[in-house]
Amino acid sequence: MTEAIVSEPNLRDLTEEEFVERYGAGRFTCGVLANRGRYVAEHICTDLLHRAFSPIITFSQDFVGAIVGPPEQDYPLAAVNKGNVIFLGSLSTGVRNTVWEYGIERLEPGDLLICNDPFRVGNHVNDMCFIRPVFHAGEIVSFVVIRAHQLDIGGTVPGGFSLMKKNVYENGLVLGPQLIFHRDEPVKELMRTILDNTRFGETLLPDFHTIRSCCALGERLVQDSIERYGIEAYKGAIRYNTDASAASMRAAIASLPDGVYEGEDKVDSDGVDAEQEYRVHVSLTKRGERLEVDLSGSSPQSRTSLNATALDAQTAVALAVKLVLDPFSPFTSGIYRDIDVLVPTGSVIGAGPPAAVMFYFEIQSVLINAILRALEAPLGERAVAGAYGSTNLHTGEGLNPDGTPWFSAAELEAQYGAWGATDAGDGNNHSGLATLNMIMPSVEEIEPRVPAIILHREYLPDTAGAGTHRGGAGLMKQSLFLSDGDHYLVPLHFRSASGSGVYDGGDGRAGGSWFFEDESSDATTPVSEFRIPDPDDFDGSAVVSGVVDPSSGRLDPEGEFAFFGRHPIWSERRGSVLRWITNGGGGWGDPLKRDPEAVKRDVRDEYVSIDGARDDYGVVVSGDPDEDPEGLEVDLEATARCRREKSAERAPGQNVEGGR
């Protein structure tokens, strides 16, 4: 079958009669129903948030809720909650694939379908997709969907966050489309399969029941919408909602000059070979209201779990394009209407079976950075600088003194960090990646459960990319472990700066990670006697990753790359300290044009040193930021002279240097 290709009318140009004829209801009613769809998605997720047991759901909020439209409309993603956006781009295709393969004719009221296969529904095997059909007068008129990260899904490592998994067989349990609840009763055969092949079943099982009841709540709310407004208006509002976001994205694409724009970024390694970086290349071709995004030229799929699927690529493209071109319209599947994504099969951004797909979000991150770099020139002052680049994930496990096991995943790394600056202002210092708007678990939640103390979280001066608007600052984070443990570390973007500056802004400084082992400690050493390294102390550290001076262990752009994969498992004794320094965000605009008073505030707040103010911004600040931070002063005459000299030193067209 070949689809008819028809041009669409401008929604704003439709008369009220034409609008009603097209959507089965007026503009006001369609607007109410579109908002009500988002309310339903929010309501079911609030319910899940309050009742789930899994910490990655309750504390990190690694889930999303959505309403997907009926098969006759080709399963459009109509409404989502303000959840983890990493799931959004593949929901429509994932639900379509799952229902189509299971057989829509087999679905009954009260059924809950699942699928977690990355090649069918995107994301990774921990991210279970739960799909409940909504019936009206015997017909499926929508699907209520929850996509939620499960604490464990089997595989070689608790929680699953090991880069060393080499194929789907090591990665975890793959579940094709099947029912986990039938007519609101659990399908015990599948429950047994899951619980017999995964860890933490005491958490997974009640969460499955909670997710079923949340989806049932969503079904009742959708049916209530239909009862109030009628089925034609309900279906029409779904079409309107997707058409509206398609129109918004179409106008945003049209605002970009026609052309071909290329960019790329790299992941440090797949954990096997220190010398093999993995590249994601992007070529964006824009003509009129059409955009084609070709990922040809990317590296082949990796030998480890550093892979993403084509559906993840499509999600990352959507998020990047929305970030820079159309950030305010609701996310629906309509945003793809004028965007074609070409994904080379067998690439690290479009892997195929039996490749292991786990760290897909790292590949998405470099794809987003590649798109930001590609669009820097055509966007001009609307360009967005690069962010910190990697979640640097950590998983730890071991035994407590009483012999009970402990486990921590995605809590003690440096998963959050600096964003790049924009024309609107300085970059945030501590946010999730553009794909991962999760919540960082609190210290108070982690420390009672994990034998660790979070010692430091503080920003480091001169790590942010300099600019008229400064990038976010690099974060130094240290955790002390109170038990021997095995640690799986996945820092993937320390070889080069990820925070690319734009519009003459500077790059953020690349960071690194280190382990400090206290060799004098043993099982009886009091915590107060452990060696706690000062932030500027690198003596005796083992460099996990980063470009460092090998003699001192300090970051040095001219130094050598320390390869984290030289130890697939970092076995560390009680009293060890894990340190992270995240990459700085890129700057926006010429740093010599930054308001000197803003630079002085940065010195006061220790985002910039006095030397950095002079060298990177040409601002001469006097005083003592430690002893008298409010007494700092800008020498305006010396600043003007310094900036004139720095401008004269620049070669024509030269980009400025960034963090020191």
């Binding site: 040809s296 067998g346 195929g352």
Partner: protein, 72 residues
């Protein structure tokens, strides 16, 4: 067993040439290749000059071949 895929330095989408001219701009630059868009996978014939789609055939699972395909 590791997943295959390390034979090449990089991987690309093949664009097969198609006879004919674009019905929108008239250029003879039609190519056939798979894309992801609204509605999932399609096999498209598009003009490389203006990006007009001459045809778009839905392709439910796209180019990925699942191990369980033997059941179909």
């Amino acid at each position: 067993m590791s997943a295959p895929g390390q034979e090449h330095e990089h991987v690309s989408v093949e664009r097969a040439a198609v006879e004919g001219a674009c019905s929108e701009c008239g250029e003879s630059q039609l190519r056939r290749y798979p894309v992801l868009s609204e509605g999932g996978w399609y096999r498209v014939v598009k003009c490389e000059s203006c990006l007009h789609s001459e045809s778009r055939e839905p392709d439910p699972v796209g180019p990925v071949v699942l191990a369980s395909v033997v059941l179909v």
